[in-house]
């Protein structure tokens, strides 16, 4: 357990989701194991006593939603519903816990953590639970961060903040929107003929995508089509640690050992079937996800945009389509728009394909995210209210 604590404490402090000096991780073993600031550990210890779970992550997010956003919501708002589709599937909603008379009622936090994977606590930050493993606490924490990040920045660009807060946040936003440098030339060069090399290339591309913060490590997926089979990262695998976590799935389904392949396998397969692609990279770059949610269409009748929007919209010249994960959804909507090798799924992420190796799709992914960062700041400056 101590190994797990160290591994995920390190991750949570380095993945950019929260302030690196304001994150704590607590694990129930024969004794309580903890790491992080004392005040967080105290709250965490109190909570673990009230909950039947193994781990707890507590942290102050990069953008202080717990100071800025929560107090601005109506008092009868009990939760925030994620706007990005990927986290909404898993989180449903994020309960809000307000302070009472300047202090935090841990019984109320525990009650809410008994319902949902993570909560936002006024004045404190995000708390997420891991029912069975330490990794779950980490994943839940990052997922809540991701959802709030997208939700908040969307509201910001829609103009809900006071100018004074915006001025306060601007340096942070500038920093978050700094362009990513396009470092791709050192990746393995294709075309790949040897499955062993292809596996290495997948590991390398996955690692780089996480390092560049183009995906949280447990989301996203990477694949390569080689010798009538798709080599693809497994479901729930950490993209920065894919050794032993790549499945081979034969084009003709002649073996079912790939049962554990990524849930996006149908989409990857459909893209390979209809496009001249050898590799596919799928990430959830935050600003691209965010920008895909802006829609200028004022009087549209579609309610569930994420799955039912029939239009192809664009971020620059990159198409956006809607669709659910799985066979009936993006596996149908994506392939027709992948002719330039890259497309965005509404509120979810980016699929980028390459005809030889991962250099080209990674470059495309970075360039798109950089374009979106720039575009976001531009929108913010214009305060376009939609």
């Amino acid at each position: 357990m101590i190994r797990q604590l160290e591994k995920f404490f390190d991750k949570i402090r380095r993945d950019g989701s929260c302030r690196h000096d304001r994150a704590a991780l607590l694990v129930r073993d024969d004794q309580l194991l903890k790491a992080g600031p004392e005040d967080f550990c105290e709250v965490g210890q109190d909570l673990l006593q009230q909950l039947n779970i193994v781990a707890l992550a507590i942290g102050e997010p990069q953008i202080p939603f717990h100071h800025l956003w929560l107090p601005r919501l109506a008092l009868d708002d009990k939760q925030i519903v994620p706007l990005d589709t990927e986290t909404r599937t898993f989180l449903h909603d994020i309960p809000l816990v307000r302070q009472r008379g300047g202090h935090i009622d841990t019984a109320e936090v525990a009650e809410q953590l008994g319902r949902r994977k993570g909560v936002l606590v006024e004045g404190l930050g995000i708390i997420a639970g891991g029912p069975a493993t330490v990794e779950q606490a980490y994943v839940n924490f990052s997922t809540v961060c991701h959802a709030l990040f997208i939700g908040y920045l969307l509201q910001l660009a829609r103009g809900i903040l006071q100018p004074v807060e915006l001025r306060q946040l601007r340096p942070l936003l500038n920093r978050l929107c700094r362009p990513i440098s396009v470092k791709v030339e050192d990746l393995l060069i294709g075309p790949f003929v040897d499955p062993g090399v292809a596996r290495k290339a997948i590991q390398q591309a996955g690692h780089r995508t996480v390092d560049l913060h183009l995906v949280d490590s447990f989301f996203g997926n990477v694949s390569c089509h080689i010798n009538q089979q798709i080599l693809i990262s497994q479901t729930g695998a950490s993209l920065d640690d894919l050794v032993g976590c790549i499945d081979a799935v034969a084009d003709d389904n002649s073996c079912t050992a790939g049962l554990t392949a990524s849930s996006e396998l149908p989409a990857h397969r459909a893209i390979y079937e209809t496009n001249d692609a050898a590799v596919i990279l799928h990430g959830h770059p935050k600003f691209t996800v965010l920008m895909s949610l802006f829609c200028d269409n004022q009087d549209c009748a579609v309610l569930d945009c994420w799955k039912e929007c029939p239009h192809i919209r664009y971020l620059g010249d990159v198409p956006i389509v809607a669709g659910e994960v799985g066979a009936g959804g993006i596996a149908t909507t994506l392939p027709p728009v992948m002719m330039n090798g890259i497309a965005v799924v509404y509120g979810h992420g980016v699929f980028a394909a390459g005809s030889t190796d991962f250099r080209q799709p990674l470059r495309a992914l970075i360039e798109l995210e950089n374009w979106c960062r720039n575009e976001y700041l531009r929108r913010l400056d214009q305060r376009i209210i939609l």
Binding site: D30, N52, G114, R115, T235, A237, L259, T260, G329
Partner: protein, 578 residues
């Protein structure tokens, strides 16, 4: 009442009496339904001999049954196992549960022994006990054809009639309530079948909230590779596991002497699809439809049956493997226990049967004739009688399923601590160790597995009481099911509350077992797994299990469960529970 019916139908076959009882709301809220409620209702009988007339046999459904919640039409059958002596529940698909709810009951309780073979026919408030002497001895298919049930049916075959200790109860559609021999409990009561039908709709407290919750679960199911993926259970059935476990080198082969059977691909899911072109079929209203149907009532067997009638006996002919499973289903025999018993006898004799010999052997077991009588006692009793107890691949008397514990240490621990004996379904560690849900864990590491199993044992006890299908946990979790349960019943459930209920059910079962003499001495594995290596290869090493680490983690399990060093609960545990 919304969600539940609040009614129990009681039938005493000795006195031919039938009456209804109200189920107290607090029991329903504290034990939900299905397994939990059945286990609670066993409180006055857990020490009763499983073949004594007084022992009750419960058919129990859950508060979500009859709603549109995916996979909620499942039944629990609960009593004491004649095979193991432990408390036993069995989750079973088909349409019986749905029809029982439509008839207006949460539970049917059957006690007594009928003087002659009978069928219990329930249609709403009209309940009859009908003699069926002519069907005694008939297989399940013939019984279904003769009774031609309009609603649900639960039937025993010759195995149950002849008190084979691992006889199953089989539904009209061919789903089994398996493992612990509850078919024999039914046979001892001379109850050939229960037929049930009715036309009462289930009302729910918050239909809009329920529909929202259903949409959430469907989204998660759609995003789950194990369920709706290209190679998932919906496409290929649980047979999809054959290739996967072969690749992981954890296929019990030749009575668990080896862990790899290269010829398994001959009866793996893709091969069966080519050979049989099966159609998708599901339990009542299930969107997943993981069953693979052939002509008539026939189906392809599940993963465990295929593997144990294949690799475990060293047979690779797909026709034989499929046929063995189908014969067991008709005789009402548990496939896993039958195969493990045969494997143990084969190892003792130094010769495994051929595919051609199996059909006759299975019939001999069901009729307890010749060698079949020996095998009908199960592997543990049989090997004790033969003087080779080390060959019984059992825990607490229950034959082990088709996951070799040397290939997954959480599974190894789960077999040991399981309340119903060597069973993969209590903690279902293959979910995380093999299928990576809800999170992937290292299958060759004991670290964290005690806690992981506790969480899963509690979760599964709750899910078995709702009653939903385990496979939904490859996508959704208690969080989603709490929302659904709240919407159906109008009470406020959370994941944490369901966990507490699951824990209560688990500990109650454990308490019954403890009072029946089970202790830490029973919570280990057959010696083979600690002293013989598995079949390494393909760059994968499958060593014997480290005994010291195994017992360390088992002791940790006891500590985390707040049991004493011998795994015992406080004597007054039941007094503290509703």
């Amino acid at each position: 009442m919304t969600g539940w019916r609040g009614r129990l139908l009681s039938v005493d076959l000795s006195r031919q009496r039938i009456w209804m009882e109200d189920l107290p709301a607090d029991l329903l809220h504290s034990y939900l339904g299905g397994r939990g409620l059945g286990v609670r209702l066993m409180r006055d009988h857990y020490r009763t001999d499983p073949f004594a007339p007084e022992v009750p046999l419960f058919f129990s459904v859950g508060p979500l049954c009859g709603t549109l919640v995916p996979t909620s039409s499942r039944l629990s059958v609960v009593s004491r196992s004649p095979l193991t002596g432990a408390i036993h529940d069995s989750s079973c698909g088909g349409s019986f549960a749905w029809h029982l709810k439509a008839a207006g009951y949460d539970v049917v309780k059957i006690t007594g022994v009928s003087p002659e073979p009978v069928v219990l026919a329930i249609f709403g408030n009209k309940v009859e006990i009908k003699p069926v002497k002519h069907l005694w001895g008939a297989g399940v298919a013939k019984t279904v054809a003769a009774l031609n049930p309009a609603g649900g049916a639960a039937i025993i075959g010759p195995a149950g009639e002849n008190l084979v200790l691992y006889a199953n109860i089989v539904t009209g559609e061919g789903n089994s309530a398996g493992r612990g021999g509850l078919g024999a409990v039914m046979g001892a009561k001379r109850l050939k079948a229960v037929l049930v039908d009715g036309e009462r709709a289930v009302s729910v407290a918050d239909p809009v909230g329920l529909q929202r919750g259903i949409n959430d679960v469907m989204r998660l199911l759609n995003a789950s590779p194990v369920i709706f993926g290209n190679l998932g259970f919906s496409e290929f059935g649980t047979a999809a596991l054959i290739d996967l476990l072969t690749q992981r080198r954890m296929v019990p082969t030749k009575n668990f002497r080896e862990t790899h059977f290269a010829a398994a691909s001959r009866y793996a899911a893709p091969a069966l699809r080519r050979l049989y072109a099966p159609k998708k079929q599901g339990c009542h209203d299930c969107p997943i439809a993981c069953k693979k149907a052939l002509r008539g009532r026939q189906r392809l067997p599940e993963h465990g049956s295929l593997s144990h009638f294949g690799a475990l006996l060293g047979i690779s002919d797909p026709a034989s493997v499929v046929q063995s499973g189908q014969i067991c289903n008709d005789l009402g025999l548990d496939t896993l226990s039958a195969a493990v018993s045969i494997a143990a006898l084969s190892e003792a004799r130094g010769e495994f049967p051929s595919g051609e010999q199996l059909p006759d052997l299975l019939r001999l077991i069901a009729h307890r004739q010749g060698e079949g009588d020996l095998l009908a006692q199960g592997a543990q009793r049989m090997t004790a009688e033969l003087g080779c107890p080390q060959l019984a691949m059992t825990v607490k008397g229950l034959e082990l399923p088709a996951y070799d514990p040397r290939g997954a240490y959480g599974m190894a621990l789960a077999y040991a601590t399981s309340n119903r004996g060597g069973c993969h379904l209590r903690a279902y560690p293959s979910a995380h160790e093999i299928l990576r849900k809800p999170v992937a864990t290292d299958r060759f590491d004991f670290a964290g597995k005690a806690w992981m199993n506790i969480v899963a044992e509690n979760t599964n006890a709750a899910v078995d009481s709702l009653v939903a299908c385990r496979f939904t946990l490859m996508a959704a979790g208690l969080e989603e099911y709490a929302t659904l349960l709240s919407a159906a019943t109008g009470a406020d459930y959370t994941a944490a509350r369901l966990t507490t209920i699951g824990e209560r059910i688990w500990l109650t079962e454990r308490y019954y077992n403890q009072m029946n003499g089970f202790s830490s001495n029973d919570e280990t594995l057959p010696e083979r797994f600690f002293s013989e290596d598995g079949s390494s290869g393909d760059g994968l090493s499958v060593p014997a299990i480290d005994r010291k680490r195994f017992f360390e983690e088992r002791q940790r399990y006891y500590r985390l469960r707040k049991l004493d060093e011998r795994g015992q609960l406080r004597q007054d545990y039941l007094d503290t529970q509703p």
